[in-house]
Amino acid sequence: MNNYQRLSSNEMRDSFTKKANQKYNRKKGSLKTLKKVFFYAREYRFYLYLAVVMDIINTICAIYLPIYTGFSINTIIGVGNVNFSELYKNLLVIAGLAVGNAVTAFISEVSLATYNYKGTFKIRDLLFEKFQNLPISYIDTTSHGDLISRMINDIDIMTDGFLASLAVVLSGIISIAGTLVAMFMLNFKLAIIILILTPVSLLFSYIIIKRSKKYVKRQIDIQGEISGYLEEYIGGSRVVKAFNHEDESIENFGHLNNNYNKIAAKSIFYSSLTNPTTRIINGLVYGTVGLYGCVLALQGEILVGTITTFLSYANSFGEPFADISEQVSSLQQAFAAANRVFNVLEENNEPSDEHLPDLLNCTGEVEIKNVNFSYIPKTTLIQNFNLSVKQGQKVAFVGPTGCGKSTIINLLMRFYDVNSGYITVSDTPIKEVSRNSLRSKYGMVLQDTWLFNSTIRENIAYGNPNAPLDDIIEAAKLAGIHEYIERLPKKYDTEIIEGGSNLSQGEKQLICIARVMLLKPPMLILDEATSNIDTRTEKSVQEAFDKMMKGRTSFVVAHRLSTITSADIILVMNKGQIIEQGTHQELLKKKGFYANLYNSQFESSRS
């Protein structure tokens, strides 16, 4: 475990330097990232094209709507001065434009959403496949919470950010351009006024957004601190009570809470200013355009209807700018999220072994020759390790917690590869056969039992989904869990929920044993559970273990003396190194580390 921790901090440093590098050529990086996103979603690009075409038609409708509204107004001048036939013609056009506008908006939104979600689907799938092909060392040294968050949150943020902002930016640019052209065609002077006023208004909102951003960031930071504090103290509330620490913890929380309140109130205030600011600026533009339009109308340069056309352009011209600027932050987040996702996607896979033959004949002899291994380059962990195991022998690993017993399992199963030296199974070097065929020769039961959310039957048949029920029952009987399963209301079809929270630790372990029994592998890797098994099941587990090991080459991380004393070879490990090796009797005679360990448990504390 310590090794993992050290390794992960190393990796963290690496990723920091990576980040720093990224900062330097961010511009290039952003473009690259964007390209990658579109590349991954390329098979759904039809939806994107459809959305763009629909958007263009939609904008054209949106530009013509105010023009015809203006025309209509121009036909309604005063008492007895209404050109009804012209008005009805215009209204008919408006109706057509309204329908076109609504239909294209709908199609565009739906196809963008489809593009968005299908893209999400694709990237999630690829990432999951990546998880299946990454070296185990990567998964060991990366926080699972972090990987899950990349899978769920980051991909969401990324597709939302890119694809939704894309929609806004796309339709924004189209409508800005279209409106601009239409305005200049209608009246040059009014168009100039809107063109000048819009950047001023944008500057205003920029200032406010920038200011609020500062507080929003501080708010998020302190929010994280509060959540962390609550997690720590609510999670540890029993300890808090046991030590009468309630008042102190409430007082400390009060400080944090007050701090948060001050900053959050400011942050909320500034971000809530965006809305009224947009409104006042729109109002001012509206007023200016209206007044100047009136003056122009007085001079007979334009008709009243044109004023209304411009008034609605004034609104629709500023809107996309505001919308686009709103997308800036979500785009930034999307870039950050995309980089986190791509970092994983671009990690190196386990080296391919497709060209290697399968391990066919395996009787269970294992030979370990001059093996050196360490999790961290340039440090030493396992040095010059030699071991020869005959078929059917039992090898026990013994040592204090965290001594590195699981390292050997990692090497045998090729979860990790040795740095030098080699391991052979039935005289075949394990590096020269496919990993899958090697792993299928081992039956593995780990202390952290792993069951997936499905029925008991499917869990037992995990290694051979086509196994008939009779075989499954047979395996369950061998594991001594059959009677228990039969007592359940739905028997073998009982659903296992949340990794087995409806089963006891011992029952879970027995199901794992049945899972291995079904396959009848020539070799076994077992990790005995230390605690958490109730005494009654513990006995059944022990019996099942013993039955399973009969006649099979077994590697056991042992915690029970009965297992240890009956082993053919005991490997005593400490701090990652194998310090003693031999049978129980030999090691006791040696009076070394093992003898000490063995005797200490009988030592009296009242001497």
Binding site: I73, T75, V79, F84, L87, A95, L97, A98, N101, A102, A105, F106, E109, Y117, K118, F121, D125, F128, N133, I136, I139, M151, I152, I226, S227, L230, E231, E232, G235, S237, R238, F243, I250, F253, A265, I268, F269, S272, P276, R279, Y286, G287, C294, L298, V304, T401, G402, D448, N453, P465, E498, S531, I533, D534, R536, R560, N596, L597, Q601, S605
Partner: protein, 583 residues
């Protein structure tokens, strides 16, 4: 809000502390909307009188009026937003504080009812929902209705006949919004559960990476994920399509309403019932009404979410602490060695969900004795020691400490007598020293070092250059499991407690360290009563008495030798861990 003013939790009652701001916020926003309401009618006048009569003077004065109204509206809006921010954040702060204090006041029995994640989610996310929702509510509660009703009144003044169009259109808009929201709700729920499923498969595959690869199931798992993933986006696309209907539907209704306005407006203008400018104002007010309906609908979603959060918080706040201080507590003399005496008299205990966790336990423990409690998981062995510091109260019978019923002490005093090492080694952010001072805030360096030595933690702590000031990360993640466990043991020993409870707390220690630990507790704290809850017989072979528990029943009480002689369960446990000793 009016009559529901009982003790029940409700966010409205928290607004009382911010009466001033929570009144001013909607008030200012109301004034802002009134300012906004006058603009279209002034514009109409400009067109009808100013432009029609070529009265530049009139145009400029009214233009200035529009400017003033705009600026006034903005200023009121800023004040309104500020007040809303102060009030809503203040309420959030108060609620958060109250929940945290409340959780701290609850006893174990009540805490059992909620998982840590539940408590955490409610005090973080639900409070945030309420706080943010309240902000929006305060900002919009006056503005949206004011604009809606104001626009309606204005249009009625302009022309009653044309206003009838609104009577038709508004219900249609409300209906569209309502029906789409209603249809979206269940889809959102399925999306959430499908997202959970996807997350679960991801988590399963990360924790079980070795098993998946050992069984060569990568392709199977990828397929399983793909199905869940596809399921998820199918619902999301459905949601997206339905959601995409909302805006086009509203816009088409609005546009057809405008066509109707023109159609009938043309007729009205023709006969002199309406002017061109007024028709424009009409269209303008109509625009405001439709945006108001949209914002009211979003307000309703916010209120719904707030109410749901409120219910969840209420659930926590309504749970009352069952363990209270007595009215006349016994005075505690901490120098009295007799405080280590513990007696159980006919004790029965049930959890709210587990009946008969302890059946009829009677036991007398003298100061300085070692008591072992052994049994499997769920056998009820921790329940016994949980009764001593009153983490739970007995269902019947009595527990005495120092000759007095535990209920007669102030809870704080009682727990000060005891040093507890919980099953999960939990450390808190700070330094080693700050963690060591939990039992005794004014502990001296010597006391801390002594405790560290007894707990076998001194050896690694002394290696730190900053020694006791060494940083402890949140949750103690910068220590290994064994180190954390030894530190939590040391924490309980600071200041020589009269009673020490080790609740299955040496599981991360190897045999040798465990033995040294027990030995040094004996040597240095020989007058302390020591309860050792464990699954290993070797940890308690020297105990004065060993209680064997199975399924809540006290199977037997005796010494190691006696139990090996006569107790079948004890033998089973012992021999499964140790080969028969041939002597």
């Amino acid at each position: 809000m009016k009559k529901r003013k009982k003790k029940e939790f409700g966010y409205f009652s928290y607004l009382k502390n911010y009466k001033f701001f929570s009144f001013l916020a909607p008030f200012f926003k109301g004034i802002e909307s009134v300012c906004e309401l006058f603009v279209p009618i002034i514009m109409a006048n400009i067109i009808d009188y100013g432009v029609a009569n070529s009265d530049e003077h009139y145009i400029i004065w009214n233009g200035a009026l529009i400017l003033i109204l705009n600026i006034a509206g903005f200023i009121f809006a800023v004040f309104g937003q500020k007040c809303a921010a102060i009030a809503s954040m203040g309420v959030g702060k108060d609620i958060r504080k109250d929940i945290f204090s409340h959780i701290n006041s609850l006893s174990y029995a009540e805490l059992d009812k909620f998982s840590t994640t539940t408590l955490l989610n409610r005090s973080v996310n639900d409070v945030r929902n309420i706080q943010d929702g309240l902000g929006s509510l305060l900002r919009m509660i006056m503005r949206a209705p004011c604009l809606l009703i104001g626009s309606l009144i204005m249009s009625l003044f302009i022309n009653i006949k044309l206003s009838l169009i609104f009577v038709v259109i508004i219900p249609i808009l409300v209906f569209i919004v309502w029906i789409i929201m209603k249809k979206l709700k269940p889809i959102l729920l399925t999306i959430k559960s499908k997202l959970d499923k996807t997350t679960n498969i991801t988590r399963e595959n990360l924790t079980g990476v070795r098993v998946v690869r050992a069984f060569n199931k990568q392709a199977f798992e990828t397929e399983r994920f793909k199905n869940a993933n596809y399921d998820l986006i199918s619902s999301q696309i459905k949601h997206g399509a339905l959601n995409s209907l909302l805006r086009p539907l509203i816009s088409i209704v609005v546009n057809f309403a405008i066509i109707a306005l023109f159609y009938f407006g043309g007729i009205e203008v023709n006969i002199g019932e309406l002017t061109q400018g007024k028709l424009l104002a009409f269209i303008n007010y109509f625009g405001k009404i439709s945006t108001c309906i949209i914002s009211i609908s979003s307000l309703l979603t916010i209120v719904n979410r707030m109410n749901a959060s409120n219910e969840r918080i209420k659930e926590i706040m309504s749970v009352k602490n069952s363990i209270k201080d007595p009215s006349n507590p016994v005075k505690v003399d901490f120098s009295d060695n007799n405080l280590g005496r513990v007696e159980f008299i006919n004790v029965n205990f049930s959890y709210s969900n587990v009946k008969n966790a302890i059946n009829n336990l009677s036991l007398e423990v003298n100061p300085g004795e070692i008591i072992g409690v052994i049994g499997g998981t769920g056998s009820g062995k921790s329940s016994i020691t949980n009764l001593i510091p009153r983490f739970y109260d007995v269902t019947s019978g009595e527990v005495l400490v120092g000759g007095n019923n535990v209920k007669k002490y102030r809870v704080e005093d009682l727990r000060n007598i005891i040093g507890i090492v919980p099953q999960n080694p939990t450390l808190f952010e700070g330094s080693i020293r700050s963690n060591m001072c939990w039992r005794k805030p004014d502990a001296t360096d010597d006391e801390i070092i002594k405790a560290l030595k007894i707990a076998q933690a001194y050896d690694f702590v002394k290696e730190y250059p900053d020694f006791l000031e060494h940083r402890v990360n949140r949750g103690g993640t910068n220590f290994s499991g064994g180190q954390r466990q030894r530190l939590t043991i040391a924490r309980a020993l600071v200041g020589n407690p009269h009673i020490i409870i080790l609740d299955d707390s040496s599981s991360a220690l190897d045999f040798a360290t465990d033995a040294r630990l027990r030995k040094s507790i004996r040597t240095y704290l020989d007058s302390s009563t020591n309860f050792i809850v464990t699954q290993r017989t070797n940890s308690i072979r020297d105990a004065n008495k060993i209680i064997v528990v199975d399924n809540g029943n006290i199977i037997d009480i005796g010494t190691h030798a006696e139990l090996l002689e006569r107790c079948k369960i004890y033998q089973e446990i012992h021999y499964s861990q140790n080969k028969k000793e041939v002597k």
